[in-house]
């Protein structure tokens, strides 16, 4: 009997222990799953926050800063206890987002739709609406207390309206408007094809800028600086990559880089050339656009479009305003400060004959930048390639087209 009782006790204890572990483990597992679910769950968006507020304050229709910086809230017009609703909404938002304080003065606008309603409609519409070709974006527009659908062309508005009708969403709750497509904003330092002037190029462990695409004696290629080769002066078949070295980024090989000469007009002890330029043959399969220069804003590296070379200019005049586009300082513009200057190159015995100086910003890596004048719209005239600058980065030096295309330099080039 005793043995039977002890056995029963033992089994009971065992069951308790095992069962407890299972629930604990399953609790842990559940917790783990919960934690895992938490980590998989998307972070709460502002729309989610607004919707949560609208659950507490049904009249809440959206919150935004107007053009004057005034915090403004939509409240559905039928709300009888306006101030209470405002206070509740602010309190609810403040708990979620410390940016709002109760001391903020809120401007209230009459709204037609609660935010919760707008969000429910939006969540219902965005998948089917996006399947319509030409729809660019959908939005709960808290600044207008409406839904917003951006389309490439208003010609598809009918299709969008049909979908709204099918979904039971009132047409007057939705603004359908033409919107520019959203595109990836590449920079001069990104991988960009086809190649255009102004893009970052890499050789050995250095960075330079692609000066301009050119055809030389029937060979497609591009021009950059002679000092943007493995050895300045003379051909070593330097390999180029855009934007940086990798098998898929290989774009060309140095094929022309005239030697520097001594004597004659060259100062004693120095070696000279008329341009700091070299030509590279484009690699097979690499696309480039002749005559095209990447367009960016002043000081920006973000590509916003393209310039088109419509002519070359052999030599600038002092006072002309010229631009450059380079991988380090983007686009800069300034007046020609001096022309046909014979200048030494710091840290070398090189003297560059007849070079041109421009008062505009520049920095290391901009070597090779195309130098041009904007004539009208996106049309430009090509003046040369940038190769140097002063220590303070306020003045750059370039080799003019007249020198680049001299016999003894790169010779005749087709650049557009």
């Amino acid at each position: 009997m005793f043995r039977r009782v002890m056995t029963l006790w033992f089994v009971a204890v065992l069951l308790i222990v095992v069962g407890g572990n299972v629930s604990v483990r399953s609790g842990v597992k559940a917790g783990d799953r919960g934690d895992a679910l938490q980590s998989l769950k998307a972070p709460e968006t502002l729309d989610d926050q607004f919707a949560s507020i609208a659950k507490q304050v049904p009249a809440f229709g959206g919150l935004f800063y107007d053009e004057m910086g005034q915090l403004t809230m939509y409240l559905v017009e039928s709300e009888p206890n306006l101030q209470e609703a405002v206070d509740l909404a602010i309190e609810a938002f403040r708990k979620r987002d410390g940016r709002i304080t109760s001391a903020d003065l809120i401007r209230v606008l009459p709204g037609q739709y609660s935010f919760l309603q707008l969000k429910q409609w939006h969540d219902r519409l965005f998948v089917p609406v996006f399947s319509i070709q030409g729809v660019i974006l959908t939005d709960v527009d808290e600044a207008t207390n409406r839904l917003r659908i951006g389309v490439e062309s208003l010609e598809i508005a009918d299709q969008v309206e049909e979908e709204l009708a099918q979904l039971g969403i009132p047409r007057e709750a939705v603004i359908i408007e033409e919107t520019e497509p959203i595109v990836f904003m590449a920079t001069l330092r990104d991988r960009v094809r086809p190649l255009r002037a102004g893009l970052q190029i890499n050789f050995s462990q250095f960075l330079c800028t692609l000066g301009f695409n050119a055809v030389r004696q029937g060979v497609n290629g591009f021009v950059t600086c002679s000092h943007c080769t493995d050895r300045q002066g003379g051909v070593e078949s330097t390999s180029y990559y855009q934007p940086s070295a990798s098998l898929t980024n290989f774009i060309g090989t140095e094929t022309v880089d005239p030697n520097y000469f001594r004597g004659g007009v060259c100062p004693r002890g120095a070696k000279c050339r008329y341009s700091d330029s070299a030509f590279a043959e484009l690699a097979a399969g690499v696309t480039s656009t002749l005559g095209a220069i990447e367009q960016t804003g002043l000081g920006s590296m973000t590509i916003t479009g393209g310039y088109q070379i419509t002519g070359e200019v052999s030599a600038p005049l002092v006072g002309e305003r010229l631009d450059k586009v380079g991988r380090t300082t983007g686009r800069s513009e300034g007046a020609v400060a001096a022309t046909c200057v014979t200048t030494g190159v710091q840290g070398s015995n090189i003297v560059q004959i007849c070079q041109d100086f421009v008062n505009a910003s520049v920095a290391g890596g901009d070597s090779g930048s195309p130098v041009f004048k904007i004539t009208s719209g996106s049309n430009v005239q090509l003046y040369g390639i940038l190769w140097g600058g002063n220590q303070s980065g306020t003045q750059f030096v370039f080799s003019r087209m007249g020198n680049i295309e001299r016999s003894g330099e790169l010779g005749l080039l087709t650049t557009f």
Binding site: F206, L207, C208, H227, C228, V265, C266, P267, R268, G269, A270, Y274, D276, G311, E312, V313, S314, A315, P316, L317, V318, G319, E320, R327, A338, T339, C340, V341, T342, T343, G344, V345, Q346, G347, S348, V351, C354, A363, G364, G365, D366, S367, T375, Q381, L386, W387, G388, G389, N390, Q391, S392, Q395, F396, V397, R400, M401, G402, R406, S407, L412
Partner: protein, 186 residues
């Protein structure tokens, strides 16, 4: 009569040959647009811009250089400011008629002809640039002077010595401290 006809034919032939040569010697009419289009002017590529300014000076003696001033006007140095029309014609001949703005050129009193400045510069540059600390030499078209850039003003004396040896008047040369120029690979 036969002789006259032959002479006449020869005369026509000569005129044709000379006429063709004359037409070819001028720059391509479409090649000048703005400053200097290089595409179709083969011979000009071998000349520097300063060489072209010398050509202007040969057509308009007393031409001292030209530049775009802060107001966007084409400003031209002349030793004789009454020679404006001659200077305009010379600039148009070398750089094309489009180089002359519709409002014409603005004339400034110059002290040195460009030919003179260039001769001095060509003599000065290789010698002076061989001195450590001398950074650049230039014909400053905006100031009708030569310009020598040096790392430190203490070097000015050495440059002046050189000018004396080369018989270049000191007042024709601006010596100024200039930042060195460095290549800008990254």
């Amino acid at each position: 009569m036969f002789r006259n006809a032959t002479l006449g034919l020869l005369l026509v032939l000569v005129l044709v040959i000379v006429g063709c040569g004359f037409l070819k010697s001028g720059p391509d009419a479409n090649s000048h647009n703005g400053a200097l289009q290089s595409r179709s002017i083969e011979g000009i590529k071998e000349k520097t811009f300063d060489d072209l300014l010398v050509e202007v000076a040969k057509r308009a003696p007393g031409f001292g250089g030209m530049f775009i001033d802060e107001e966007g006007a084409l400003s031209v140095y002349l030793l004789d400011v009454t020679q404006k029309a001659t200077a305009e014609a010379a600039i148009a001949a070398v750089f094309g008629p489009d180089r002359i703005p519709p409002s014409g050129i603005r004339v400034l009193q110059g002290q040195y002809s460009f030919v003179q400045l260039k001769q001095w510069h060509d003599r000065l540059s290789p010698t002076v640039l061989a001195r450590p600390g001398v950074i650049l030499t230039d014909i400053d078209e905006a100031k009708n002077r030569l310009r020598v850039g040096v790392e430190k003003l203490e070097l000015a004396k050495q440059v002046e010595e050189e000018l004396t040896k080369l018989d270049i008047p000191r007042k024709a040369v601006l010596i100024e401290v200039t930042e060195p120029v460095k290549p800008l690979s990254g």
